[in-house]
């Protein structure tokens, strides 16, 4: 566990010291502020559109941070050759992957925390409400979703050589699932066999990232999500993340490093 923690800390430090995150955060603040400064029929209490824009930016930035941070980890270790002194120490390849996974996941979690605090401030500035538990639920689900994304990006970084191609593939896949994942069963119903069964099988197999998108609920001030559902979502995310990490380990464990 110490080894995994040591590896994870370096990834977190990398994110803290790189400029990417700050650029994205400042961009989010600026765009939200611009959207908030628009005069809409002389009504300063309109807030939901601002929440929507802010959350959309947070979701886009979350994906970018998670994918770019994860996609570069292993290729950068290879390119700078730091993987050699690292794996020449008593570190198993499984620990290496887990350390990278937890590092990237923690780093995106820290970024999300800051983004959601900003979201809370934006919301409270007009709503004068702090539904902290609702925000916590939404942020937790968001973080779980990014856990799955980090895991499959890590797998991608072993399968695909170039971080840019891996990043693009992962981003398109994640965005595709977020937009279309919920509707694939309906599309399947409109198809003839055997396409219907094939698409239905794909629908059940893919990780439904959109399940973790509770933006609609916090924008429109809905009630809390049932905690047992949150627990189930946590299990669902853990299962998929574990699956992708296991697949990554299977590919990586015997791969020569020369």
């Amino acid at each position: 566990m110490n080894t995994i923690w040591a590896l994870a800390k370096v990834v977190v430090l990398e994110m803290v010291r790189r400029k990417d995150f700050y650029v994205l955060f400042i961009l989010t603040v600026l765009l939200t502020a611009t959207a908030g400064s628009v005069n809409l029929f002389n009504d300063r209490s309109i807030v939901r559109y601002l929440k929507e824009i802010c959350l959309l930016l947070i979701w886009a930035c979350g994906l970018v941070i998670a994918i770019t941070c994860t996609a570069r980890q292993i290729p950068a270790e290879r390119e700078s050759r730091t993987i050699f002194p690292l794996l020449a120490k008593p570190v198993t390849r499984g620990q290496f992957l887990l350390g990278k996974f937890f590092g990237c996941w923690l780093a995106t979690g820290l970024a999300l925390l800051l983004f959601y605090i900003f979201f809370g401030l934006v919301s409270a500035s007009r709503d004068h409400e702090w539904p902290v538990l609702n925000y916590l639920q939404a942020a937790w689900l968001h973080w779980l979703m990014l856990g799955i994304v980090v895991a499959f990006t890590l797998l991608g970084s072993i399968v695909f050589a170039a971080p840019s191609s891996n990043g693009t593939i992962c981003f398109v896949s994640a965005a595709g699932i977020l937009v279309l994942g919920r509707h694939l069963n309906k599309v399947a119903l409109s198809l003839a066999e055997p396409l219907q069964s094939l698409l239905y099988a794909f629908y059940f197999a893919l990780p439904h990232l959109e399940l973790f998108d509770a933006r609609g609920l916090i924008i429109h001030g809905s009630e809390l999500i049932r905690w047992d559902m949150i627990a189930l979502a946590t299990l669902y995310a853990a299962a998929y993340a574990a699956f992708f990490l296991f697949a990554a380990w299977l590919v990586f464990r015997r791969r020569p490093l020369n």
Binding site: T3, W5, S80, P85, L257
Partner: protein, 265 residues
């Protein structure tokens, strides 16, 4: 561990000292990408032993199989056949790497970390207690003369300083065996001299040093024993003094002769 049993290769002398590193019938093959060639033999039935406290030079021209052998020793590449052990433990076990320090050639350490943070990270991997970690960081940074730059990010380091921080990371766990891949590559004469001094100091502390180098003069100065590899095969192995006496020549001449190099008239 005391050597036990004899190896079939006539190149291996009868063991008389404690063994740090042993390689038996090691064969490494790579799948070749060239058309019409299925596999490429990088190391061909290599047998080698390195005793405790020795400074061992591992020599050979480019493509001789030195890096492949080192990659097997460090667990980066699985052997096609044969075994390699460090302190009696098969190199495929991660624990075999608990007592070794490795300095790879031309590595660009995490540039966003300071030397101190880098060493703390590697110490964390060895699970060294934090108080001891700080003491070791102080010690190795003084040894490699980077104490003054310990709080600077590595991206601000010169090439020589980067090589020395690499040496520091290889020493953070106080290893009994050091594996150095071209430790003086790309360094200026002062940098080389410093690395040589460090190797001598480590030898004085009873550490085993196994290193590859193209700097034959340096090898002649520093090493107790050497092995020369060519096209994956061990050409010779023995103490530097014995080789020099046997061939009545310097190491460079011996090396060139063994690899079959004849200068153009």
């Amino acid at each position: 561990m005391i050597w036990a049993g004899a190896f079939p290769s006539p190149l291996c002398p009868k063991p008389t000292v404690e063994t740090t590193l042993s390689i038996e019938n090691l064969r490494v093959e790579y799948r070749s990408r060239d058309l019409g060639e299925t596999t490429k033999i990088a190391v061909h039935d290599l047998n080698l032993k390195v005793g405790l406290g020795e400074v061992f030079g591992f020599l050979g021209p480019n493509g001789a199989g030195k890096t492949s052998t080192m990659n097997v020793l460090l667990g980066f590449v699985p052997p096609t056949s044969g075994t390699a052990r460090i302190f009696g433990v098969d190199v495929r076990e991660p624990i075999a790497r608990q007592r070794i320090g490795y300095l790879p050639e031309q590595t660009y350490y995490y540039k966003f970390l300071t030397a101190e943070e880098l060493l703390r990270f590697y110490a964390g991997i060895f699970q060294i207690p934090s108080k001891e970690t700080e003491q070791r960081i102080d010690g190795v940074l003084k040894l490699v003369e980077l104490d003054h730059a310990r709080k600077r990010q590595i991206k601000t380091y010169s090439k020589g300083m980067q090589q020395r921080v690499g040496l520091a990371q290889a020493l953070i766990n106080n290893p009994d065996l050091l594996i150095l891949d071209e430790p003086t590559s790309g360094l200026d004469p002062i940098g080389r001299m410093k690395v040589r001094e460090i190797i001598q100091r480590l030898k004085g502390e009873g550490k085993t040093v196994f290193f590859s180098s193209h700097e034959l003069g340096e090898v002649e100065t520093v090493c107790d024993r050497v092995a020369i590899l060519h096209q994956g095969e061990l050409k010779t192995e023995g103490s530097v003094n014995d080789l020099l006496k046997e061939h009545s020549s310097n190491l460079e001449q011996i090396f060139l002769k063994l690899i079959g190099y004849s200068p153009q008239p």
